[in-house]
C-alpha cells in the first residue's frame, strides 16, 4: 500500500514538472478559469439590465403625453434617448441598434382622454434581444396601465369615491408575485451559476485527454507506466491528481466567491455545494478518461470532448428548458454532466430541497465517475504500443 502511495506521489511530482514546462496547463487550470469567473460575474454585475435605450414618437405633444414619457424615463430599466417624428424613423432606429423599443403616442390622445373616446397608444419592442424585449415590454405596459389608471382614478375621486374604493375598482384582483429565492430576477444569479461551471467543465473535459495523450505524443508513455509499476490505475491517479486538486480549488473558489462574497442565494447550505463540486470535477475527468480510452488518439478524443462540452450549454436546459425540446433530445441531454450539475444546483442549492430529490442526477454523476473503468485496459495498451502520428 505504501508502495502504491509512493508511486502515486512520484508520478504526481512528475506531472507537476510537466505542467510547469508547458504553459498551456497554467493557463487552462488557473488563469483562464479566473478570467471566466470574473468575466461573467462582472458582465452581469447590475443583476438586471438597467437604463436600456428606448425612443418615443410623441405626435400629441401635450402635457399628458410628456408626463407619460417622463414616467417611462424614470423607470430603472429604460432610458429615453431619442424622439422621433414618426413611426418609420423609430423603426429605423431599432434597425440601427440605437434603441430596443419605442412608445407611440398618436395625435389626439389627450383630447381623446378628455372626451372619453378611448384613445390608443402603442408600444413597439424588438424581441431580437430577448432579455431587453421582455423587460421593456413589462415597463411600457406598466406606463400604459398607470396612464389609464390615472385617468380612471381622477374621475372616480371626482364623483366622491374613497381611496380604497378607487383602487378596488381599478384592480379588484391583485396578483401577488413571489419570486422564490431570486426576488430581484437577478440575471447574474440565474446565468453565472450555470455558465461559469460549464466553461470550467470545458477545461476539465479537454485537459484530461490532452494530458494523457501527450504522453504518447512526446514518447514518455512507457516511462510513465513503468513509474507506476505497470499499474495503469496508479499511473492515472498520480497523473490526474494535481489537476483534480487545481480544478477543485477553482470550483470551490468560484462557489466561495459567488455564495459568500457576492451573496448569491444558497438556502441548501454548504453540504450540497461541496458534494456537487467534487462530483462534477470527478465526473468530467471520468468522461475525459473514458473518451480517451474509447479512442486512444489524442486528436480524436480531444475533438469529441470539445464538441461534447460545447453542446452541453444548450442541452443543460439552463437557458431554454429541456422539457420544451424534442423528446429525443431530452434523453440525449442526460449524457452531459453539465445537465446534472445544473439540476442538482437548482434543486439542492438554489431552492434548498433535500438531496434525495436529485438522486437521479447524483447517480448519473457517479456513473460518469466509474465510466473510465470500462476503457482503462485500452489506455494501458495504447500507452505501451501506440505511436503518435502528427
Amino acid at each position: 500500500m505504501t508502495e502504491i502511495i509512493r508511486r502515486i506521489y512520484h508520478i504526481s511530482l512528475r506531472e507537476l514538472r510537466i505542467m510547469r514546462q508547458n504553459p498551456i496547463y497554467g493557463f487552462c487550470t488557473v488563469i483562464f478559469p479566473i478570467v471566466i469567473i470574473l468575466f461573467f460575474t462582472s458582465l452581469m454585475n447590475s443583476g438586471q439590465p438597467i437604463e436600456m435605450p428606448v425612443g418615443v414618437v410623441d405626435q400629441d405633444q401635450t402635457q399628458t403625453s410628456r408626463a407619460m414619457i417622463r414616467r417611462l424615463d424614470a423607470f430603472q430599466t429604460s432610458h429615453v434617448v431619442g424622439h422621433y417624428a414618426n413611426m418609420n424613423e423609430a423603426r429605423k432606429a431599432i434597425q440601427r441598434n440605437e434603441i430596443y423599443a419605442f412608445l407611440l403616442i398618436p395625435k389626439g390622445t389627450t383630447s381623446g382622454l378628455m372626451t372619453d373616446t378611448q384613445p390608443r397608444i402603442s408600444f413597439y419592442y424588438s424581441n431580437v434581444t430577448l432579455v431587453a424585449g421582455n423587460l421593456l415590454n413589462r415597463d411600457l405596459k406598466t406606463v400604459a396601465a398607470l396612464g389609464s389608471a390615472a385617468v380612471g382614478a381622477t374621475k372616480l375621486s371626482a364623483i366622491g369615491k374613497t381611496g380604497q374604493e378607487v383602487s378596488t375598482f381599478l384592480q379588484p384582483i391583485v396578483v401577488n408575485l413571489h419570486m422564490i429565492n431570486n426576488p430581484w430576477a437577478n440575471y447574474n444569479v440565474y446565468l453565472s451559476t450555470a455558465m461559469v461551471p460549464g466553461v470550467l467543465m470545458i477545461f476539465i473535459f479537454l485537459l484530461t485527454p490532452y494530458t494523457i495523450g501527450t504522453e504518447i505524443k512526446f514518447h514518455r508513455s512507457r516511462q510513465w507506466i513503468k513509474m507506476a509499476g505497470g499499474n495503469v490505475y496508479v499511473a492515472l491517479t498520480g497523473k490526474l491528481l494535481p489537476q483534480t486538486v487545481l480544478f477543485l480549488s477553482m470550483m470551490f473558489g468560484f462557489s466561495y466567491y459567488i455564495f459568500y462574497v457576492l451573496g448569491f442565494p444558497h438556502p441548501g447550505g454548504i453540504v450540497p455545494i461541496i458534494l456537487l463540486n467534487i462530483l462534477s470535477v470527478l465526473a468530467c475527468q471520468g468522461f475525459g478518461i473514458f473518451a480517451f480510452g474509447l479512442m486512444p488518439s489524442l486528436r480524436m478524443s480531444i475533438s469529441v470532448c470539445s464538441l461534447w462540452s460545447v453542446l452541453s450549454f444548450t442541452l443543460s436546459g439552463a437557458t431554454y428548458p429541456l422539457f420544451s425540446m424534442d423528446s429525443f433530445i431530452q434523453s440525449v441531454a442526460q449524457l452531459f454532466p453539465l445537465r446534472h450539475f445544473y439540476m442538482i444546483y437548482q434543486m439542492c442549492i438554489f431552492n434548498g430541497f433535500p438531496l434525495t430529490n436529485a438522486w437521479f442526477n447524483f447517480m448519473a454523476l457517479a456513473l460518469f465517475i466509474i465510466l473510465p473503468f470500462f476503457t482503462i485496459p485500452n489506455i494501458r495498451k495504447a500507452m505501451l504500443v501506440y505511436v503518435y502520428i502528427p
Binding site: 483562464f32 458582465l43 390622445t109 378611448q118 432579455v131 391583485v174 489524442l298 420544451s324
Partner: protein, 443 residues
Amino acid sequence: MSTSHNMENDSLLYRIKQGINDTCYIWAKELRSTVTDEGVLIFCILVPLLYPLLYSWAYNNEVVREVPVAIVDKSHSTASREFIRNVDASPDTRVAYYCNSLEEAQGLTAKQQVNGTIYFPADFNKLLNRGEQATVNVYTDMSLMLTYKAIYQTTQAVSAGMNSKIQITLGGGMTNREDEVVTQPLAFEEIPIFNTTGGYGNAILPGVLMLILQQTLLLGIGLAAGTARENNRYQDLVPISKHYNGIFRIVLGKSLSYFMLYAIMGAYLALVVPHMFNYISLVSAETILGLLLPYILSCIFFGMTLSCLVRYRENVMLLVVFTSVPFLFLTGISWPQSNIPGFWQGIASLIPSTFGIRGFLRISSMGASLSDIRVEYQALWIQVFVYFITACLVYRYQINTTRKRAFNQMQMVKEKAIAAKAKKLQEYEAKSVSQSNTENATN
C-alpha cells in the same frame, strides 16, 4: 546571354507571374490539407455542416408552452375556479396538480413536477363580493427565466381579464361602449416589431450560426498550422521551399483556400440552415454579401494571426473552444449590448464575431440594410485590414526565423564539412609525413 536572363528574372511581370504561381501552389496545398488532415476535416467541414442542425433541432420549438403549475385553492369558489380554468386554457401554462396546502405544492416543485404555484386564500371570493381587493398569491421557481415569465405573464393576463369583467358590472354604464371606456380610458397595444413570436431559437440561433463560422475557422487554421509545424523538421510554420518565398504568397494562398471553403459554409449557415428550420431570414443578396465578405475575411486573418502562437496542434482546441461562450455573450445577444461594461466592450471590439453576429442579427431578424449596420460593417473592414497586416507580420517573422535557422544549419554543415576536410587533410599530411619519415628511416 546571362545578363539578359537575369533581366528577365528581375522584371516585374516575371515576378508577378511567379508570385501568382506560388500563391496557387500554396492555395492548392492548403486546400488538400483540409481534406487529408483529420482534425481540419472535422472542424472545417463536418462541424459547420452538422452542428447547426443539432442546435436548430434543440431550439426548434422556439417558445415554452404548457408550463405545469400547481393550484392551492382554499377559496373553492366560482371566482377562483374561473381563474384556474383561464390559467389552464392559456397556451403558456397548464394546471398540473391540485394541492391542499402550500407544503404539498412545494414538494411537487422539489420533484420538478411543477414550476410554480397559484394560491387562493380562503377569503378570495368573499373579498371580491364585498367590494374589496382580493389577492392571488403566485409562487414561481426562479431557476428558469422562461417558465417564470410564462407563469407571471399568464396570471397577469388572466387577472386583467377578470378585472375588466368585474369593473363592467360595477361601472353601471349605459352602453357596452361606455363600459369599455370606463374600464380602460386609455387603450394600449403592445406590438413585438421584430422576432414577433418572441422565439428563443430565433433570438439565439443567428448568433450561434455566425459564431460557428468563426470558431471552426480559428480551430481549422490553428490545427493546420500546428500540423505544418509538427511535420516540419525544425518545428517551423513555414517550410523551406521555393514556393514559400514571400509573405504575400503565403498569406494570400492560404487565405484563398479557406475563403473558398467558407464562402460555401457561410452561405450554408446564413441561408440554408434558417430556411430548413423556418427561422426568420430577412436577408437580401446585397446585405448578406456585404456582411459575410468582410466577416469571413477578418475571421481568416484573425485565425492566421493567432495560429502563429500555436506550438502543438492540440493546444489550439484548449485555446479556442472555451472562448465560444464568452464570445457569444460579448455580442450582446443574451445580456443587452447597452449594459456590457466598457472594459469588455473594448475586448469585444477585437473579435470579428462581435460585429459579425450583431450585423447578422440585424440583417437577418430585422431586415436591416447595409447602411443600417454601417458601424458593424466598417468595423469588420477595419479588422480585415488590421488582421491582414498582423498576419503578414507574423508570417514575416516566421519566414525570417526559418531562413535564419536554415542559414545557420547550412553554415553548420559547411563548417562541419570544412572541419572534416581540414581534419582529413591533416590526417593525410600526418600520414604522408610519417610515411616519408619511415621512408627516410628505411632509406
